[in-house]
């Protein structure tokens, strides 16, 4: 009687484990795929930091963006505000930008102006960029309008970023 009961118990255990595993695997797959699609695990911090600074230059009211009675005109550069001293203070004081420097090249009409943010680091662009283990370099080019005393002109703003790793 006992032996018969034991055989029944053994068979029942084995039969129960197959559906248990299948169901658990399905549940785990669903959980992992949900988490996987929502968690951003691998951020390129260097690129992100460079982009935040670049965006800050355009969207901060204290940087170079032209402002009139209707508000800020994103993409329109006020030439009077495109000064090294202004841009070194408008987002965060350049002294706090350790290891990251920006080179801004504004070309419009026959004019070309270069400004550095955190010059000690920014001046290393592009000569130090070949050392990819020590420095991360990014370049972005924007089509902009430049407002100066003669009116509004079409121009190009290139923002180069160098960051020590």
């Amino acid at each position: 009687m006992n032996k018969k009961g034991d055989s029944y118990h053994l068979g029942k255990e084995v039969n129960l484990w197959f559906p248990r595993i299948i169901i658990m695997v399905i549940v785990i797959l669903i959980i992992f795929s949900f988490i996987g699609s929502h968690i951003k695990r691998n951020l390129d911090i260097d690129y992100l930091q460079s982009s935040i600074l670049t965006e800050g230059l355009f969207y901060s009211p204290d940087c170079f963006t032209h402002r009139d009675e209707n508000g800020m005109k994103i993409g329109v550069i006020d030439h009077a505000k495109f000064k090294e001293q202004t841009l070194n203070e408008c987002i965060i004081p350049s002294k706090k930008l350790t290891g990251i420097g920006l080179k801004l090249t504004l070309v419009y009409g026959a004019n070309k102006e270069i400004i550095y943010i955190n010059k000690d680091a920014g001046i290393k662009f592009p000569s130090f960029c070949s050392d990819e283990k020590s420095f991360a370099c990014f370049s972005k080019q924007f089509y902009v309008l430049v407002k100066d005393s003669s009116g509004i002109q079409k121009g190009v703003l290139k923002i180069d970023t160098i960051k020590s790793k």
């Binding site: 595993i21 670049t54 005109k73 972005k140 089509y143």
Partner: protein
């Protein structure tokens, strides 16, 4: 009694198999995730940069009209040739030459004009709606294609 011990033994084996499956799935998912997420992040950042280009483009003055006013003018005349010439000139002279740029004007589901939309590759689109005097809005799309171009003559085959 022995059979009961066997059942417990088999239970243990299945538990170990189950644990191995979980560990394998965990490893697989952490490995697969790596590539995808990074691309999504940089794409969002790039989109924000293209928005600035589109805003500047629409504010550009050409013969006392801004490009946005020119779009409305071309829409009322149903002739986009002048707009196409002006936008192409701006693309050529001022936009980043490492990418292909295109401007598309859409009304509802109907594409009214495609300017310089000749490149292939992965697109990133910046979109702005402009109200028209008539019915609904016009959708203006500035598209940056990831493919680099080497000369002003574009090709669809660039990927």
């Amino acid at each position: 009694m022995n059979k009961k011990a066997d059942a417990e033994g088999i239970g243990m084996i299945f538990s170990i198999i189950f644990l191995i499956i979980i560990l394998f799935l965990f490893y697989s998912f952490s490995f697969i995730d790596k590539g995808i997420v990074r691309e999504e992040t940089s794409e969002q950042i790039d989109l924000s940069n293209i928005n600035i280009n589109l805003l500047s483009l629409l504010r550009t003055e050409v013969n006392e009209f801004t490009i946005s006013e020119l779009i409305i003018d071309c829409y009322s005349k149903d002739d986009y040739s002048k707009l196409s010439t002006e936008v192409n000139n701006i693309f050529q002279d001022y936009f980043d030459k490492n990418y292909c740029w295109a401007l598309i004007i859409i009304e509802g589901d109907k594409v009214l004009a495609e300017i310089n939309n000749l490149c292939g590759g992965k697109p990133i689109e910046s979109i702005i709606n402009i109200p028209t005097p008539n019915t609904g809005d016009l959708t203006i799309k500035l598209i940056r294609y990831g493919a680099e171009k080497s000369n002003p003559t574009y090709s669809r085959d660039i990927s």
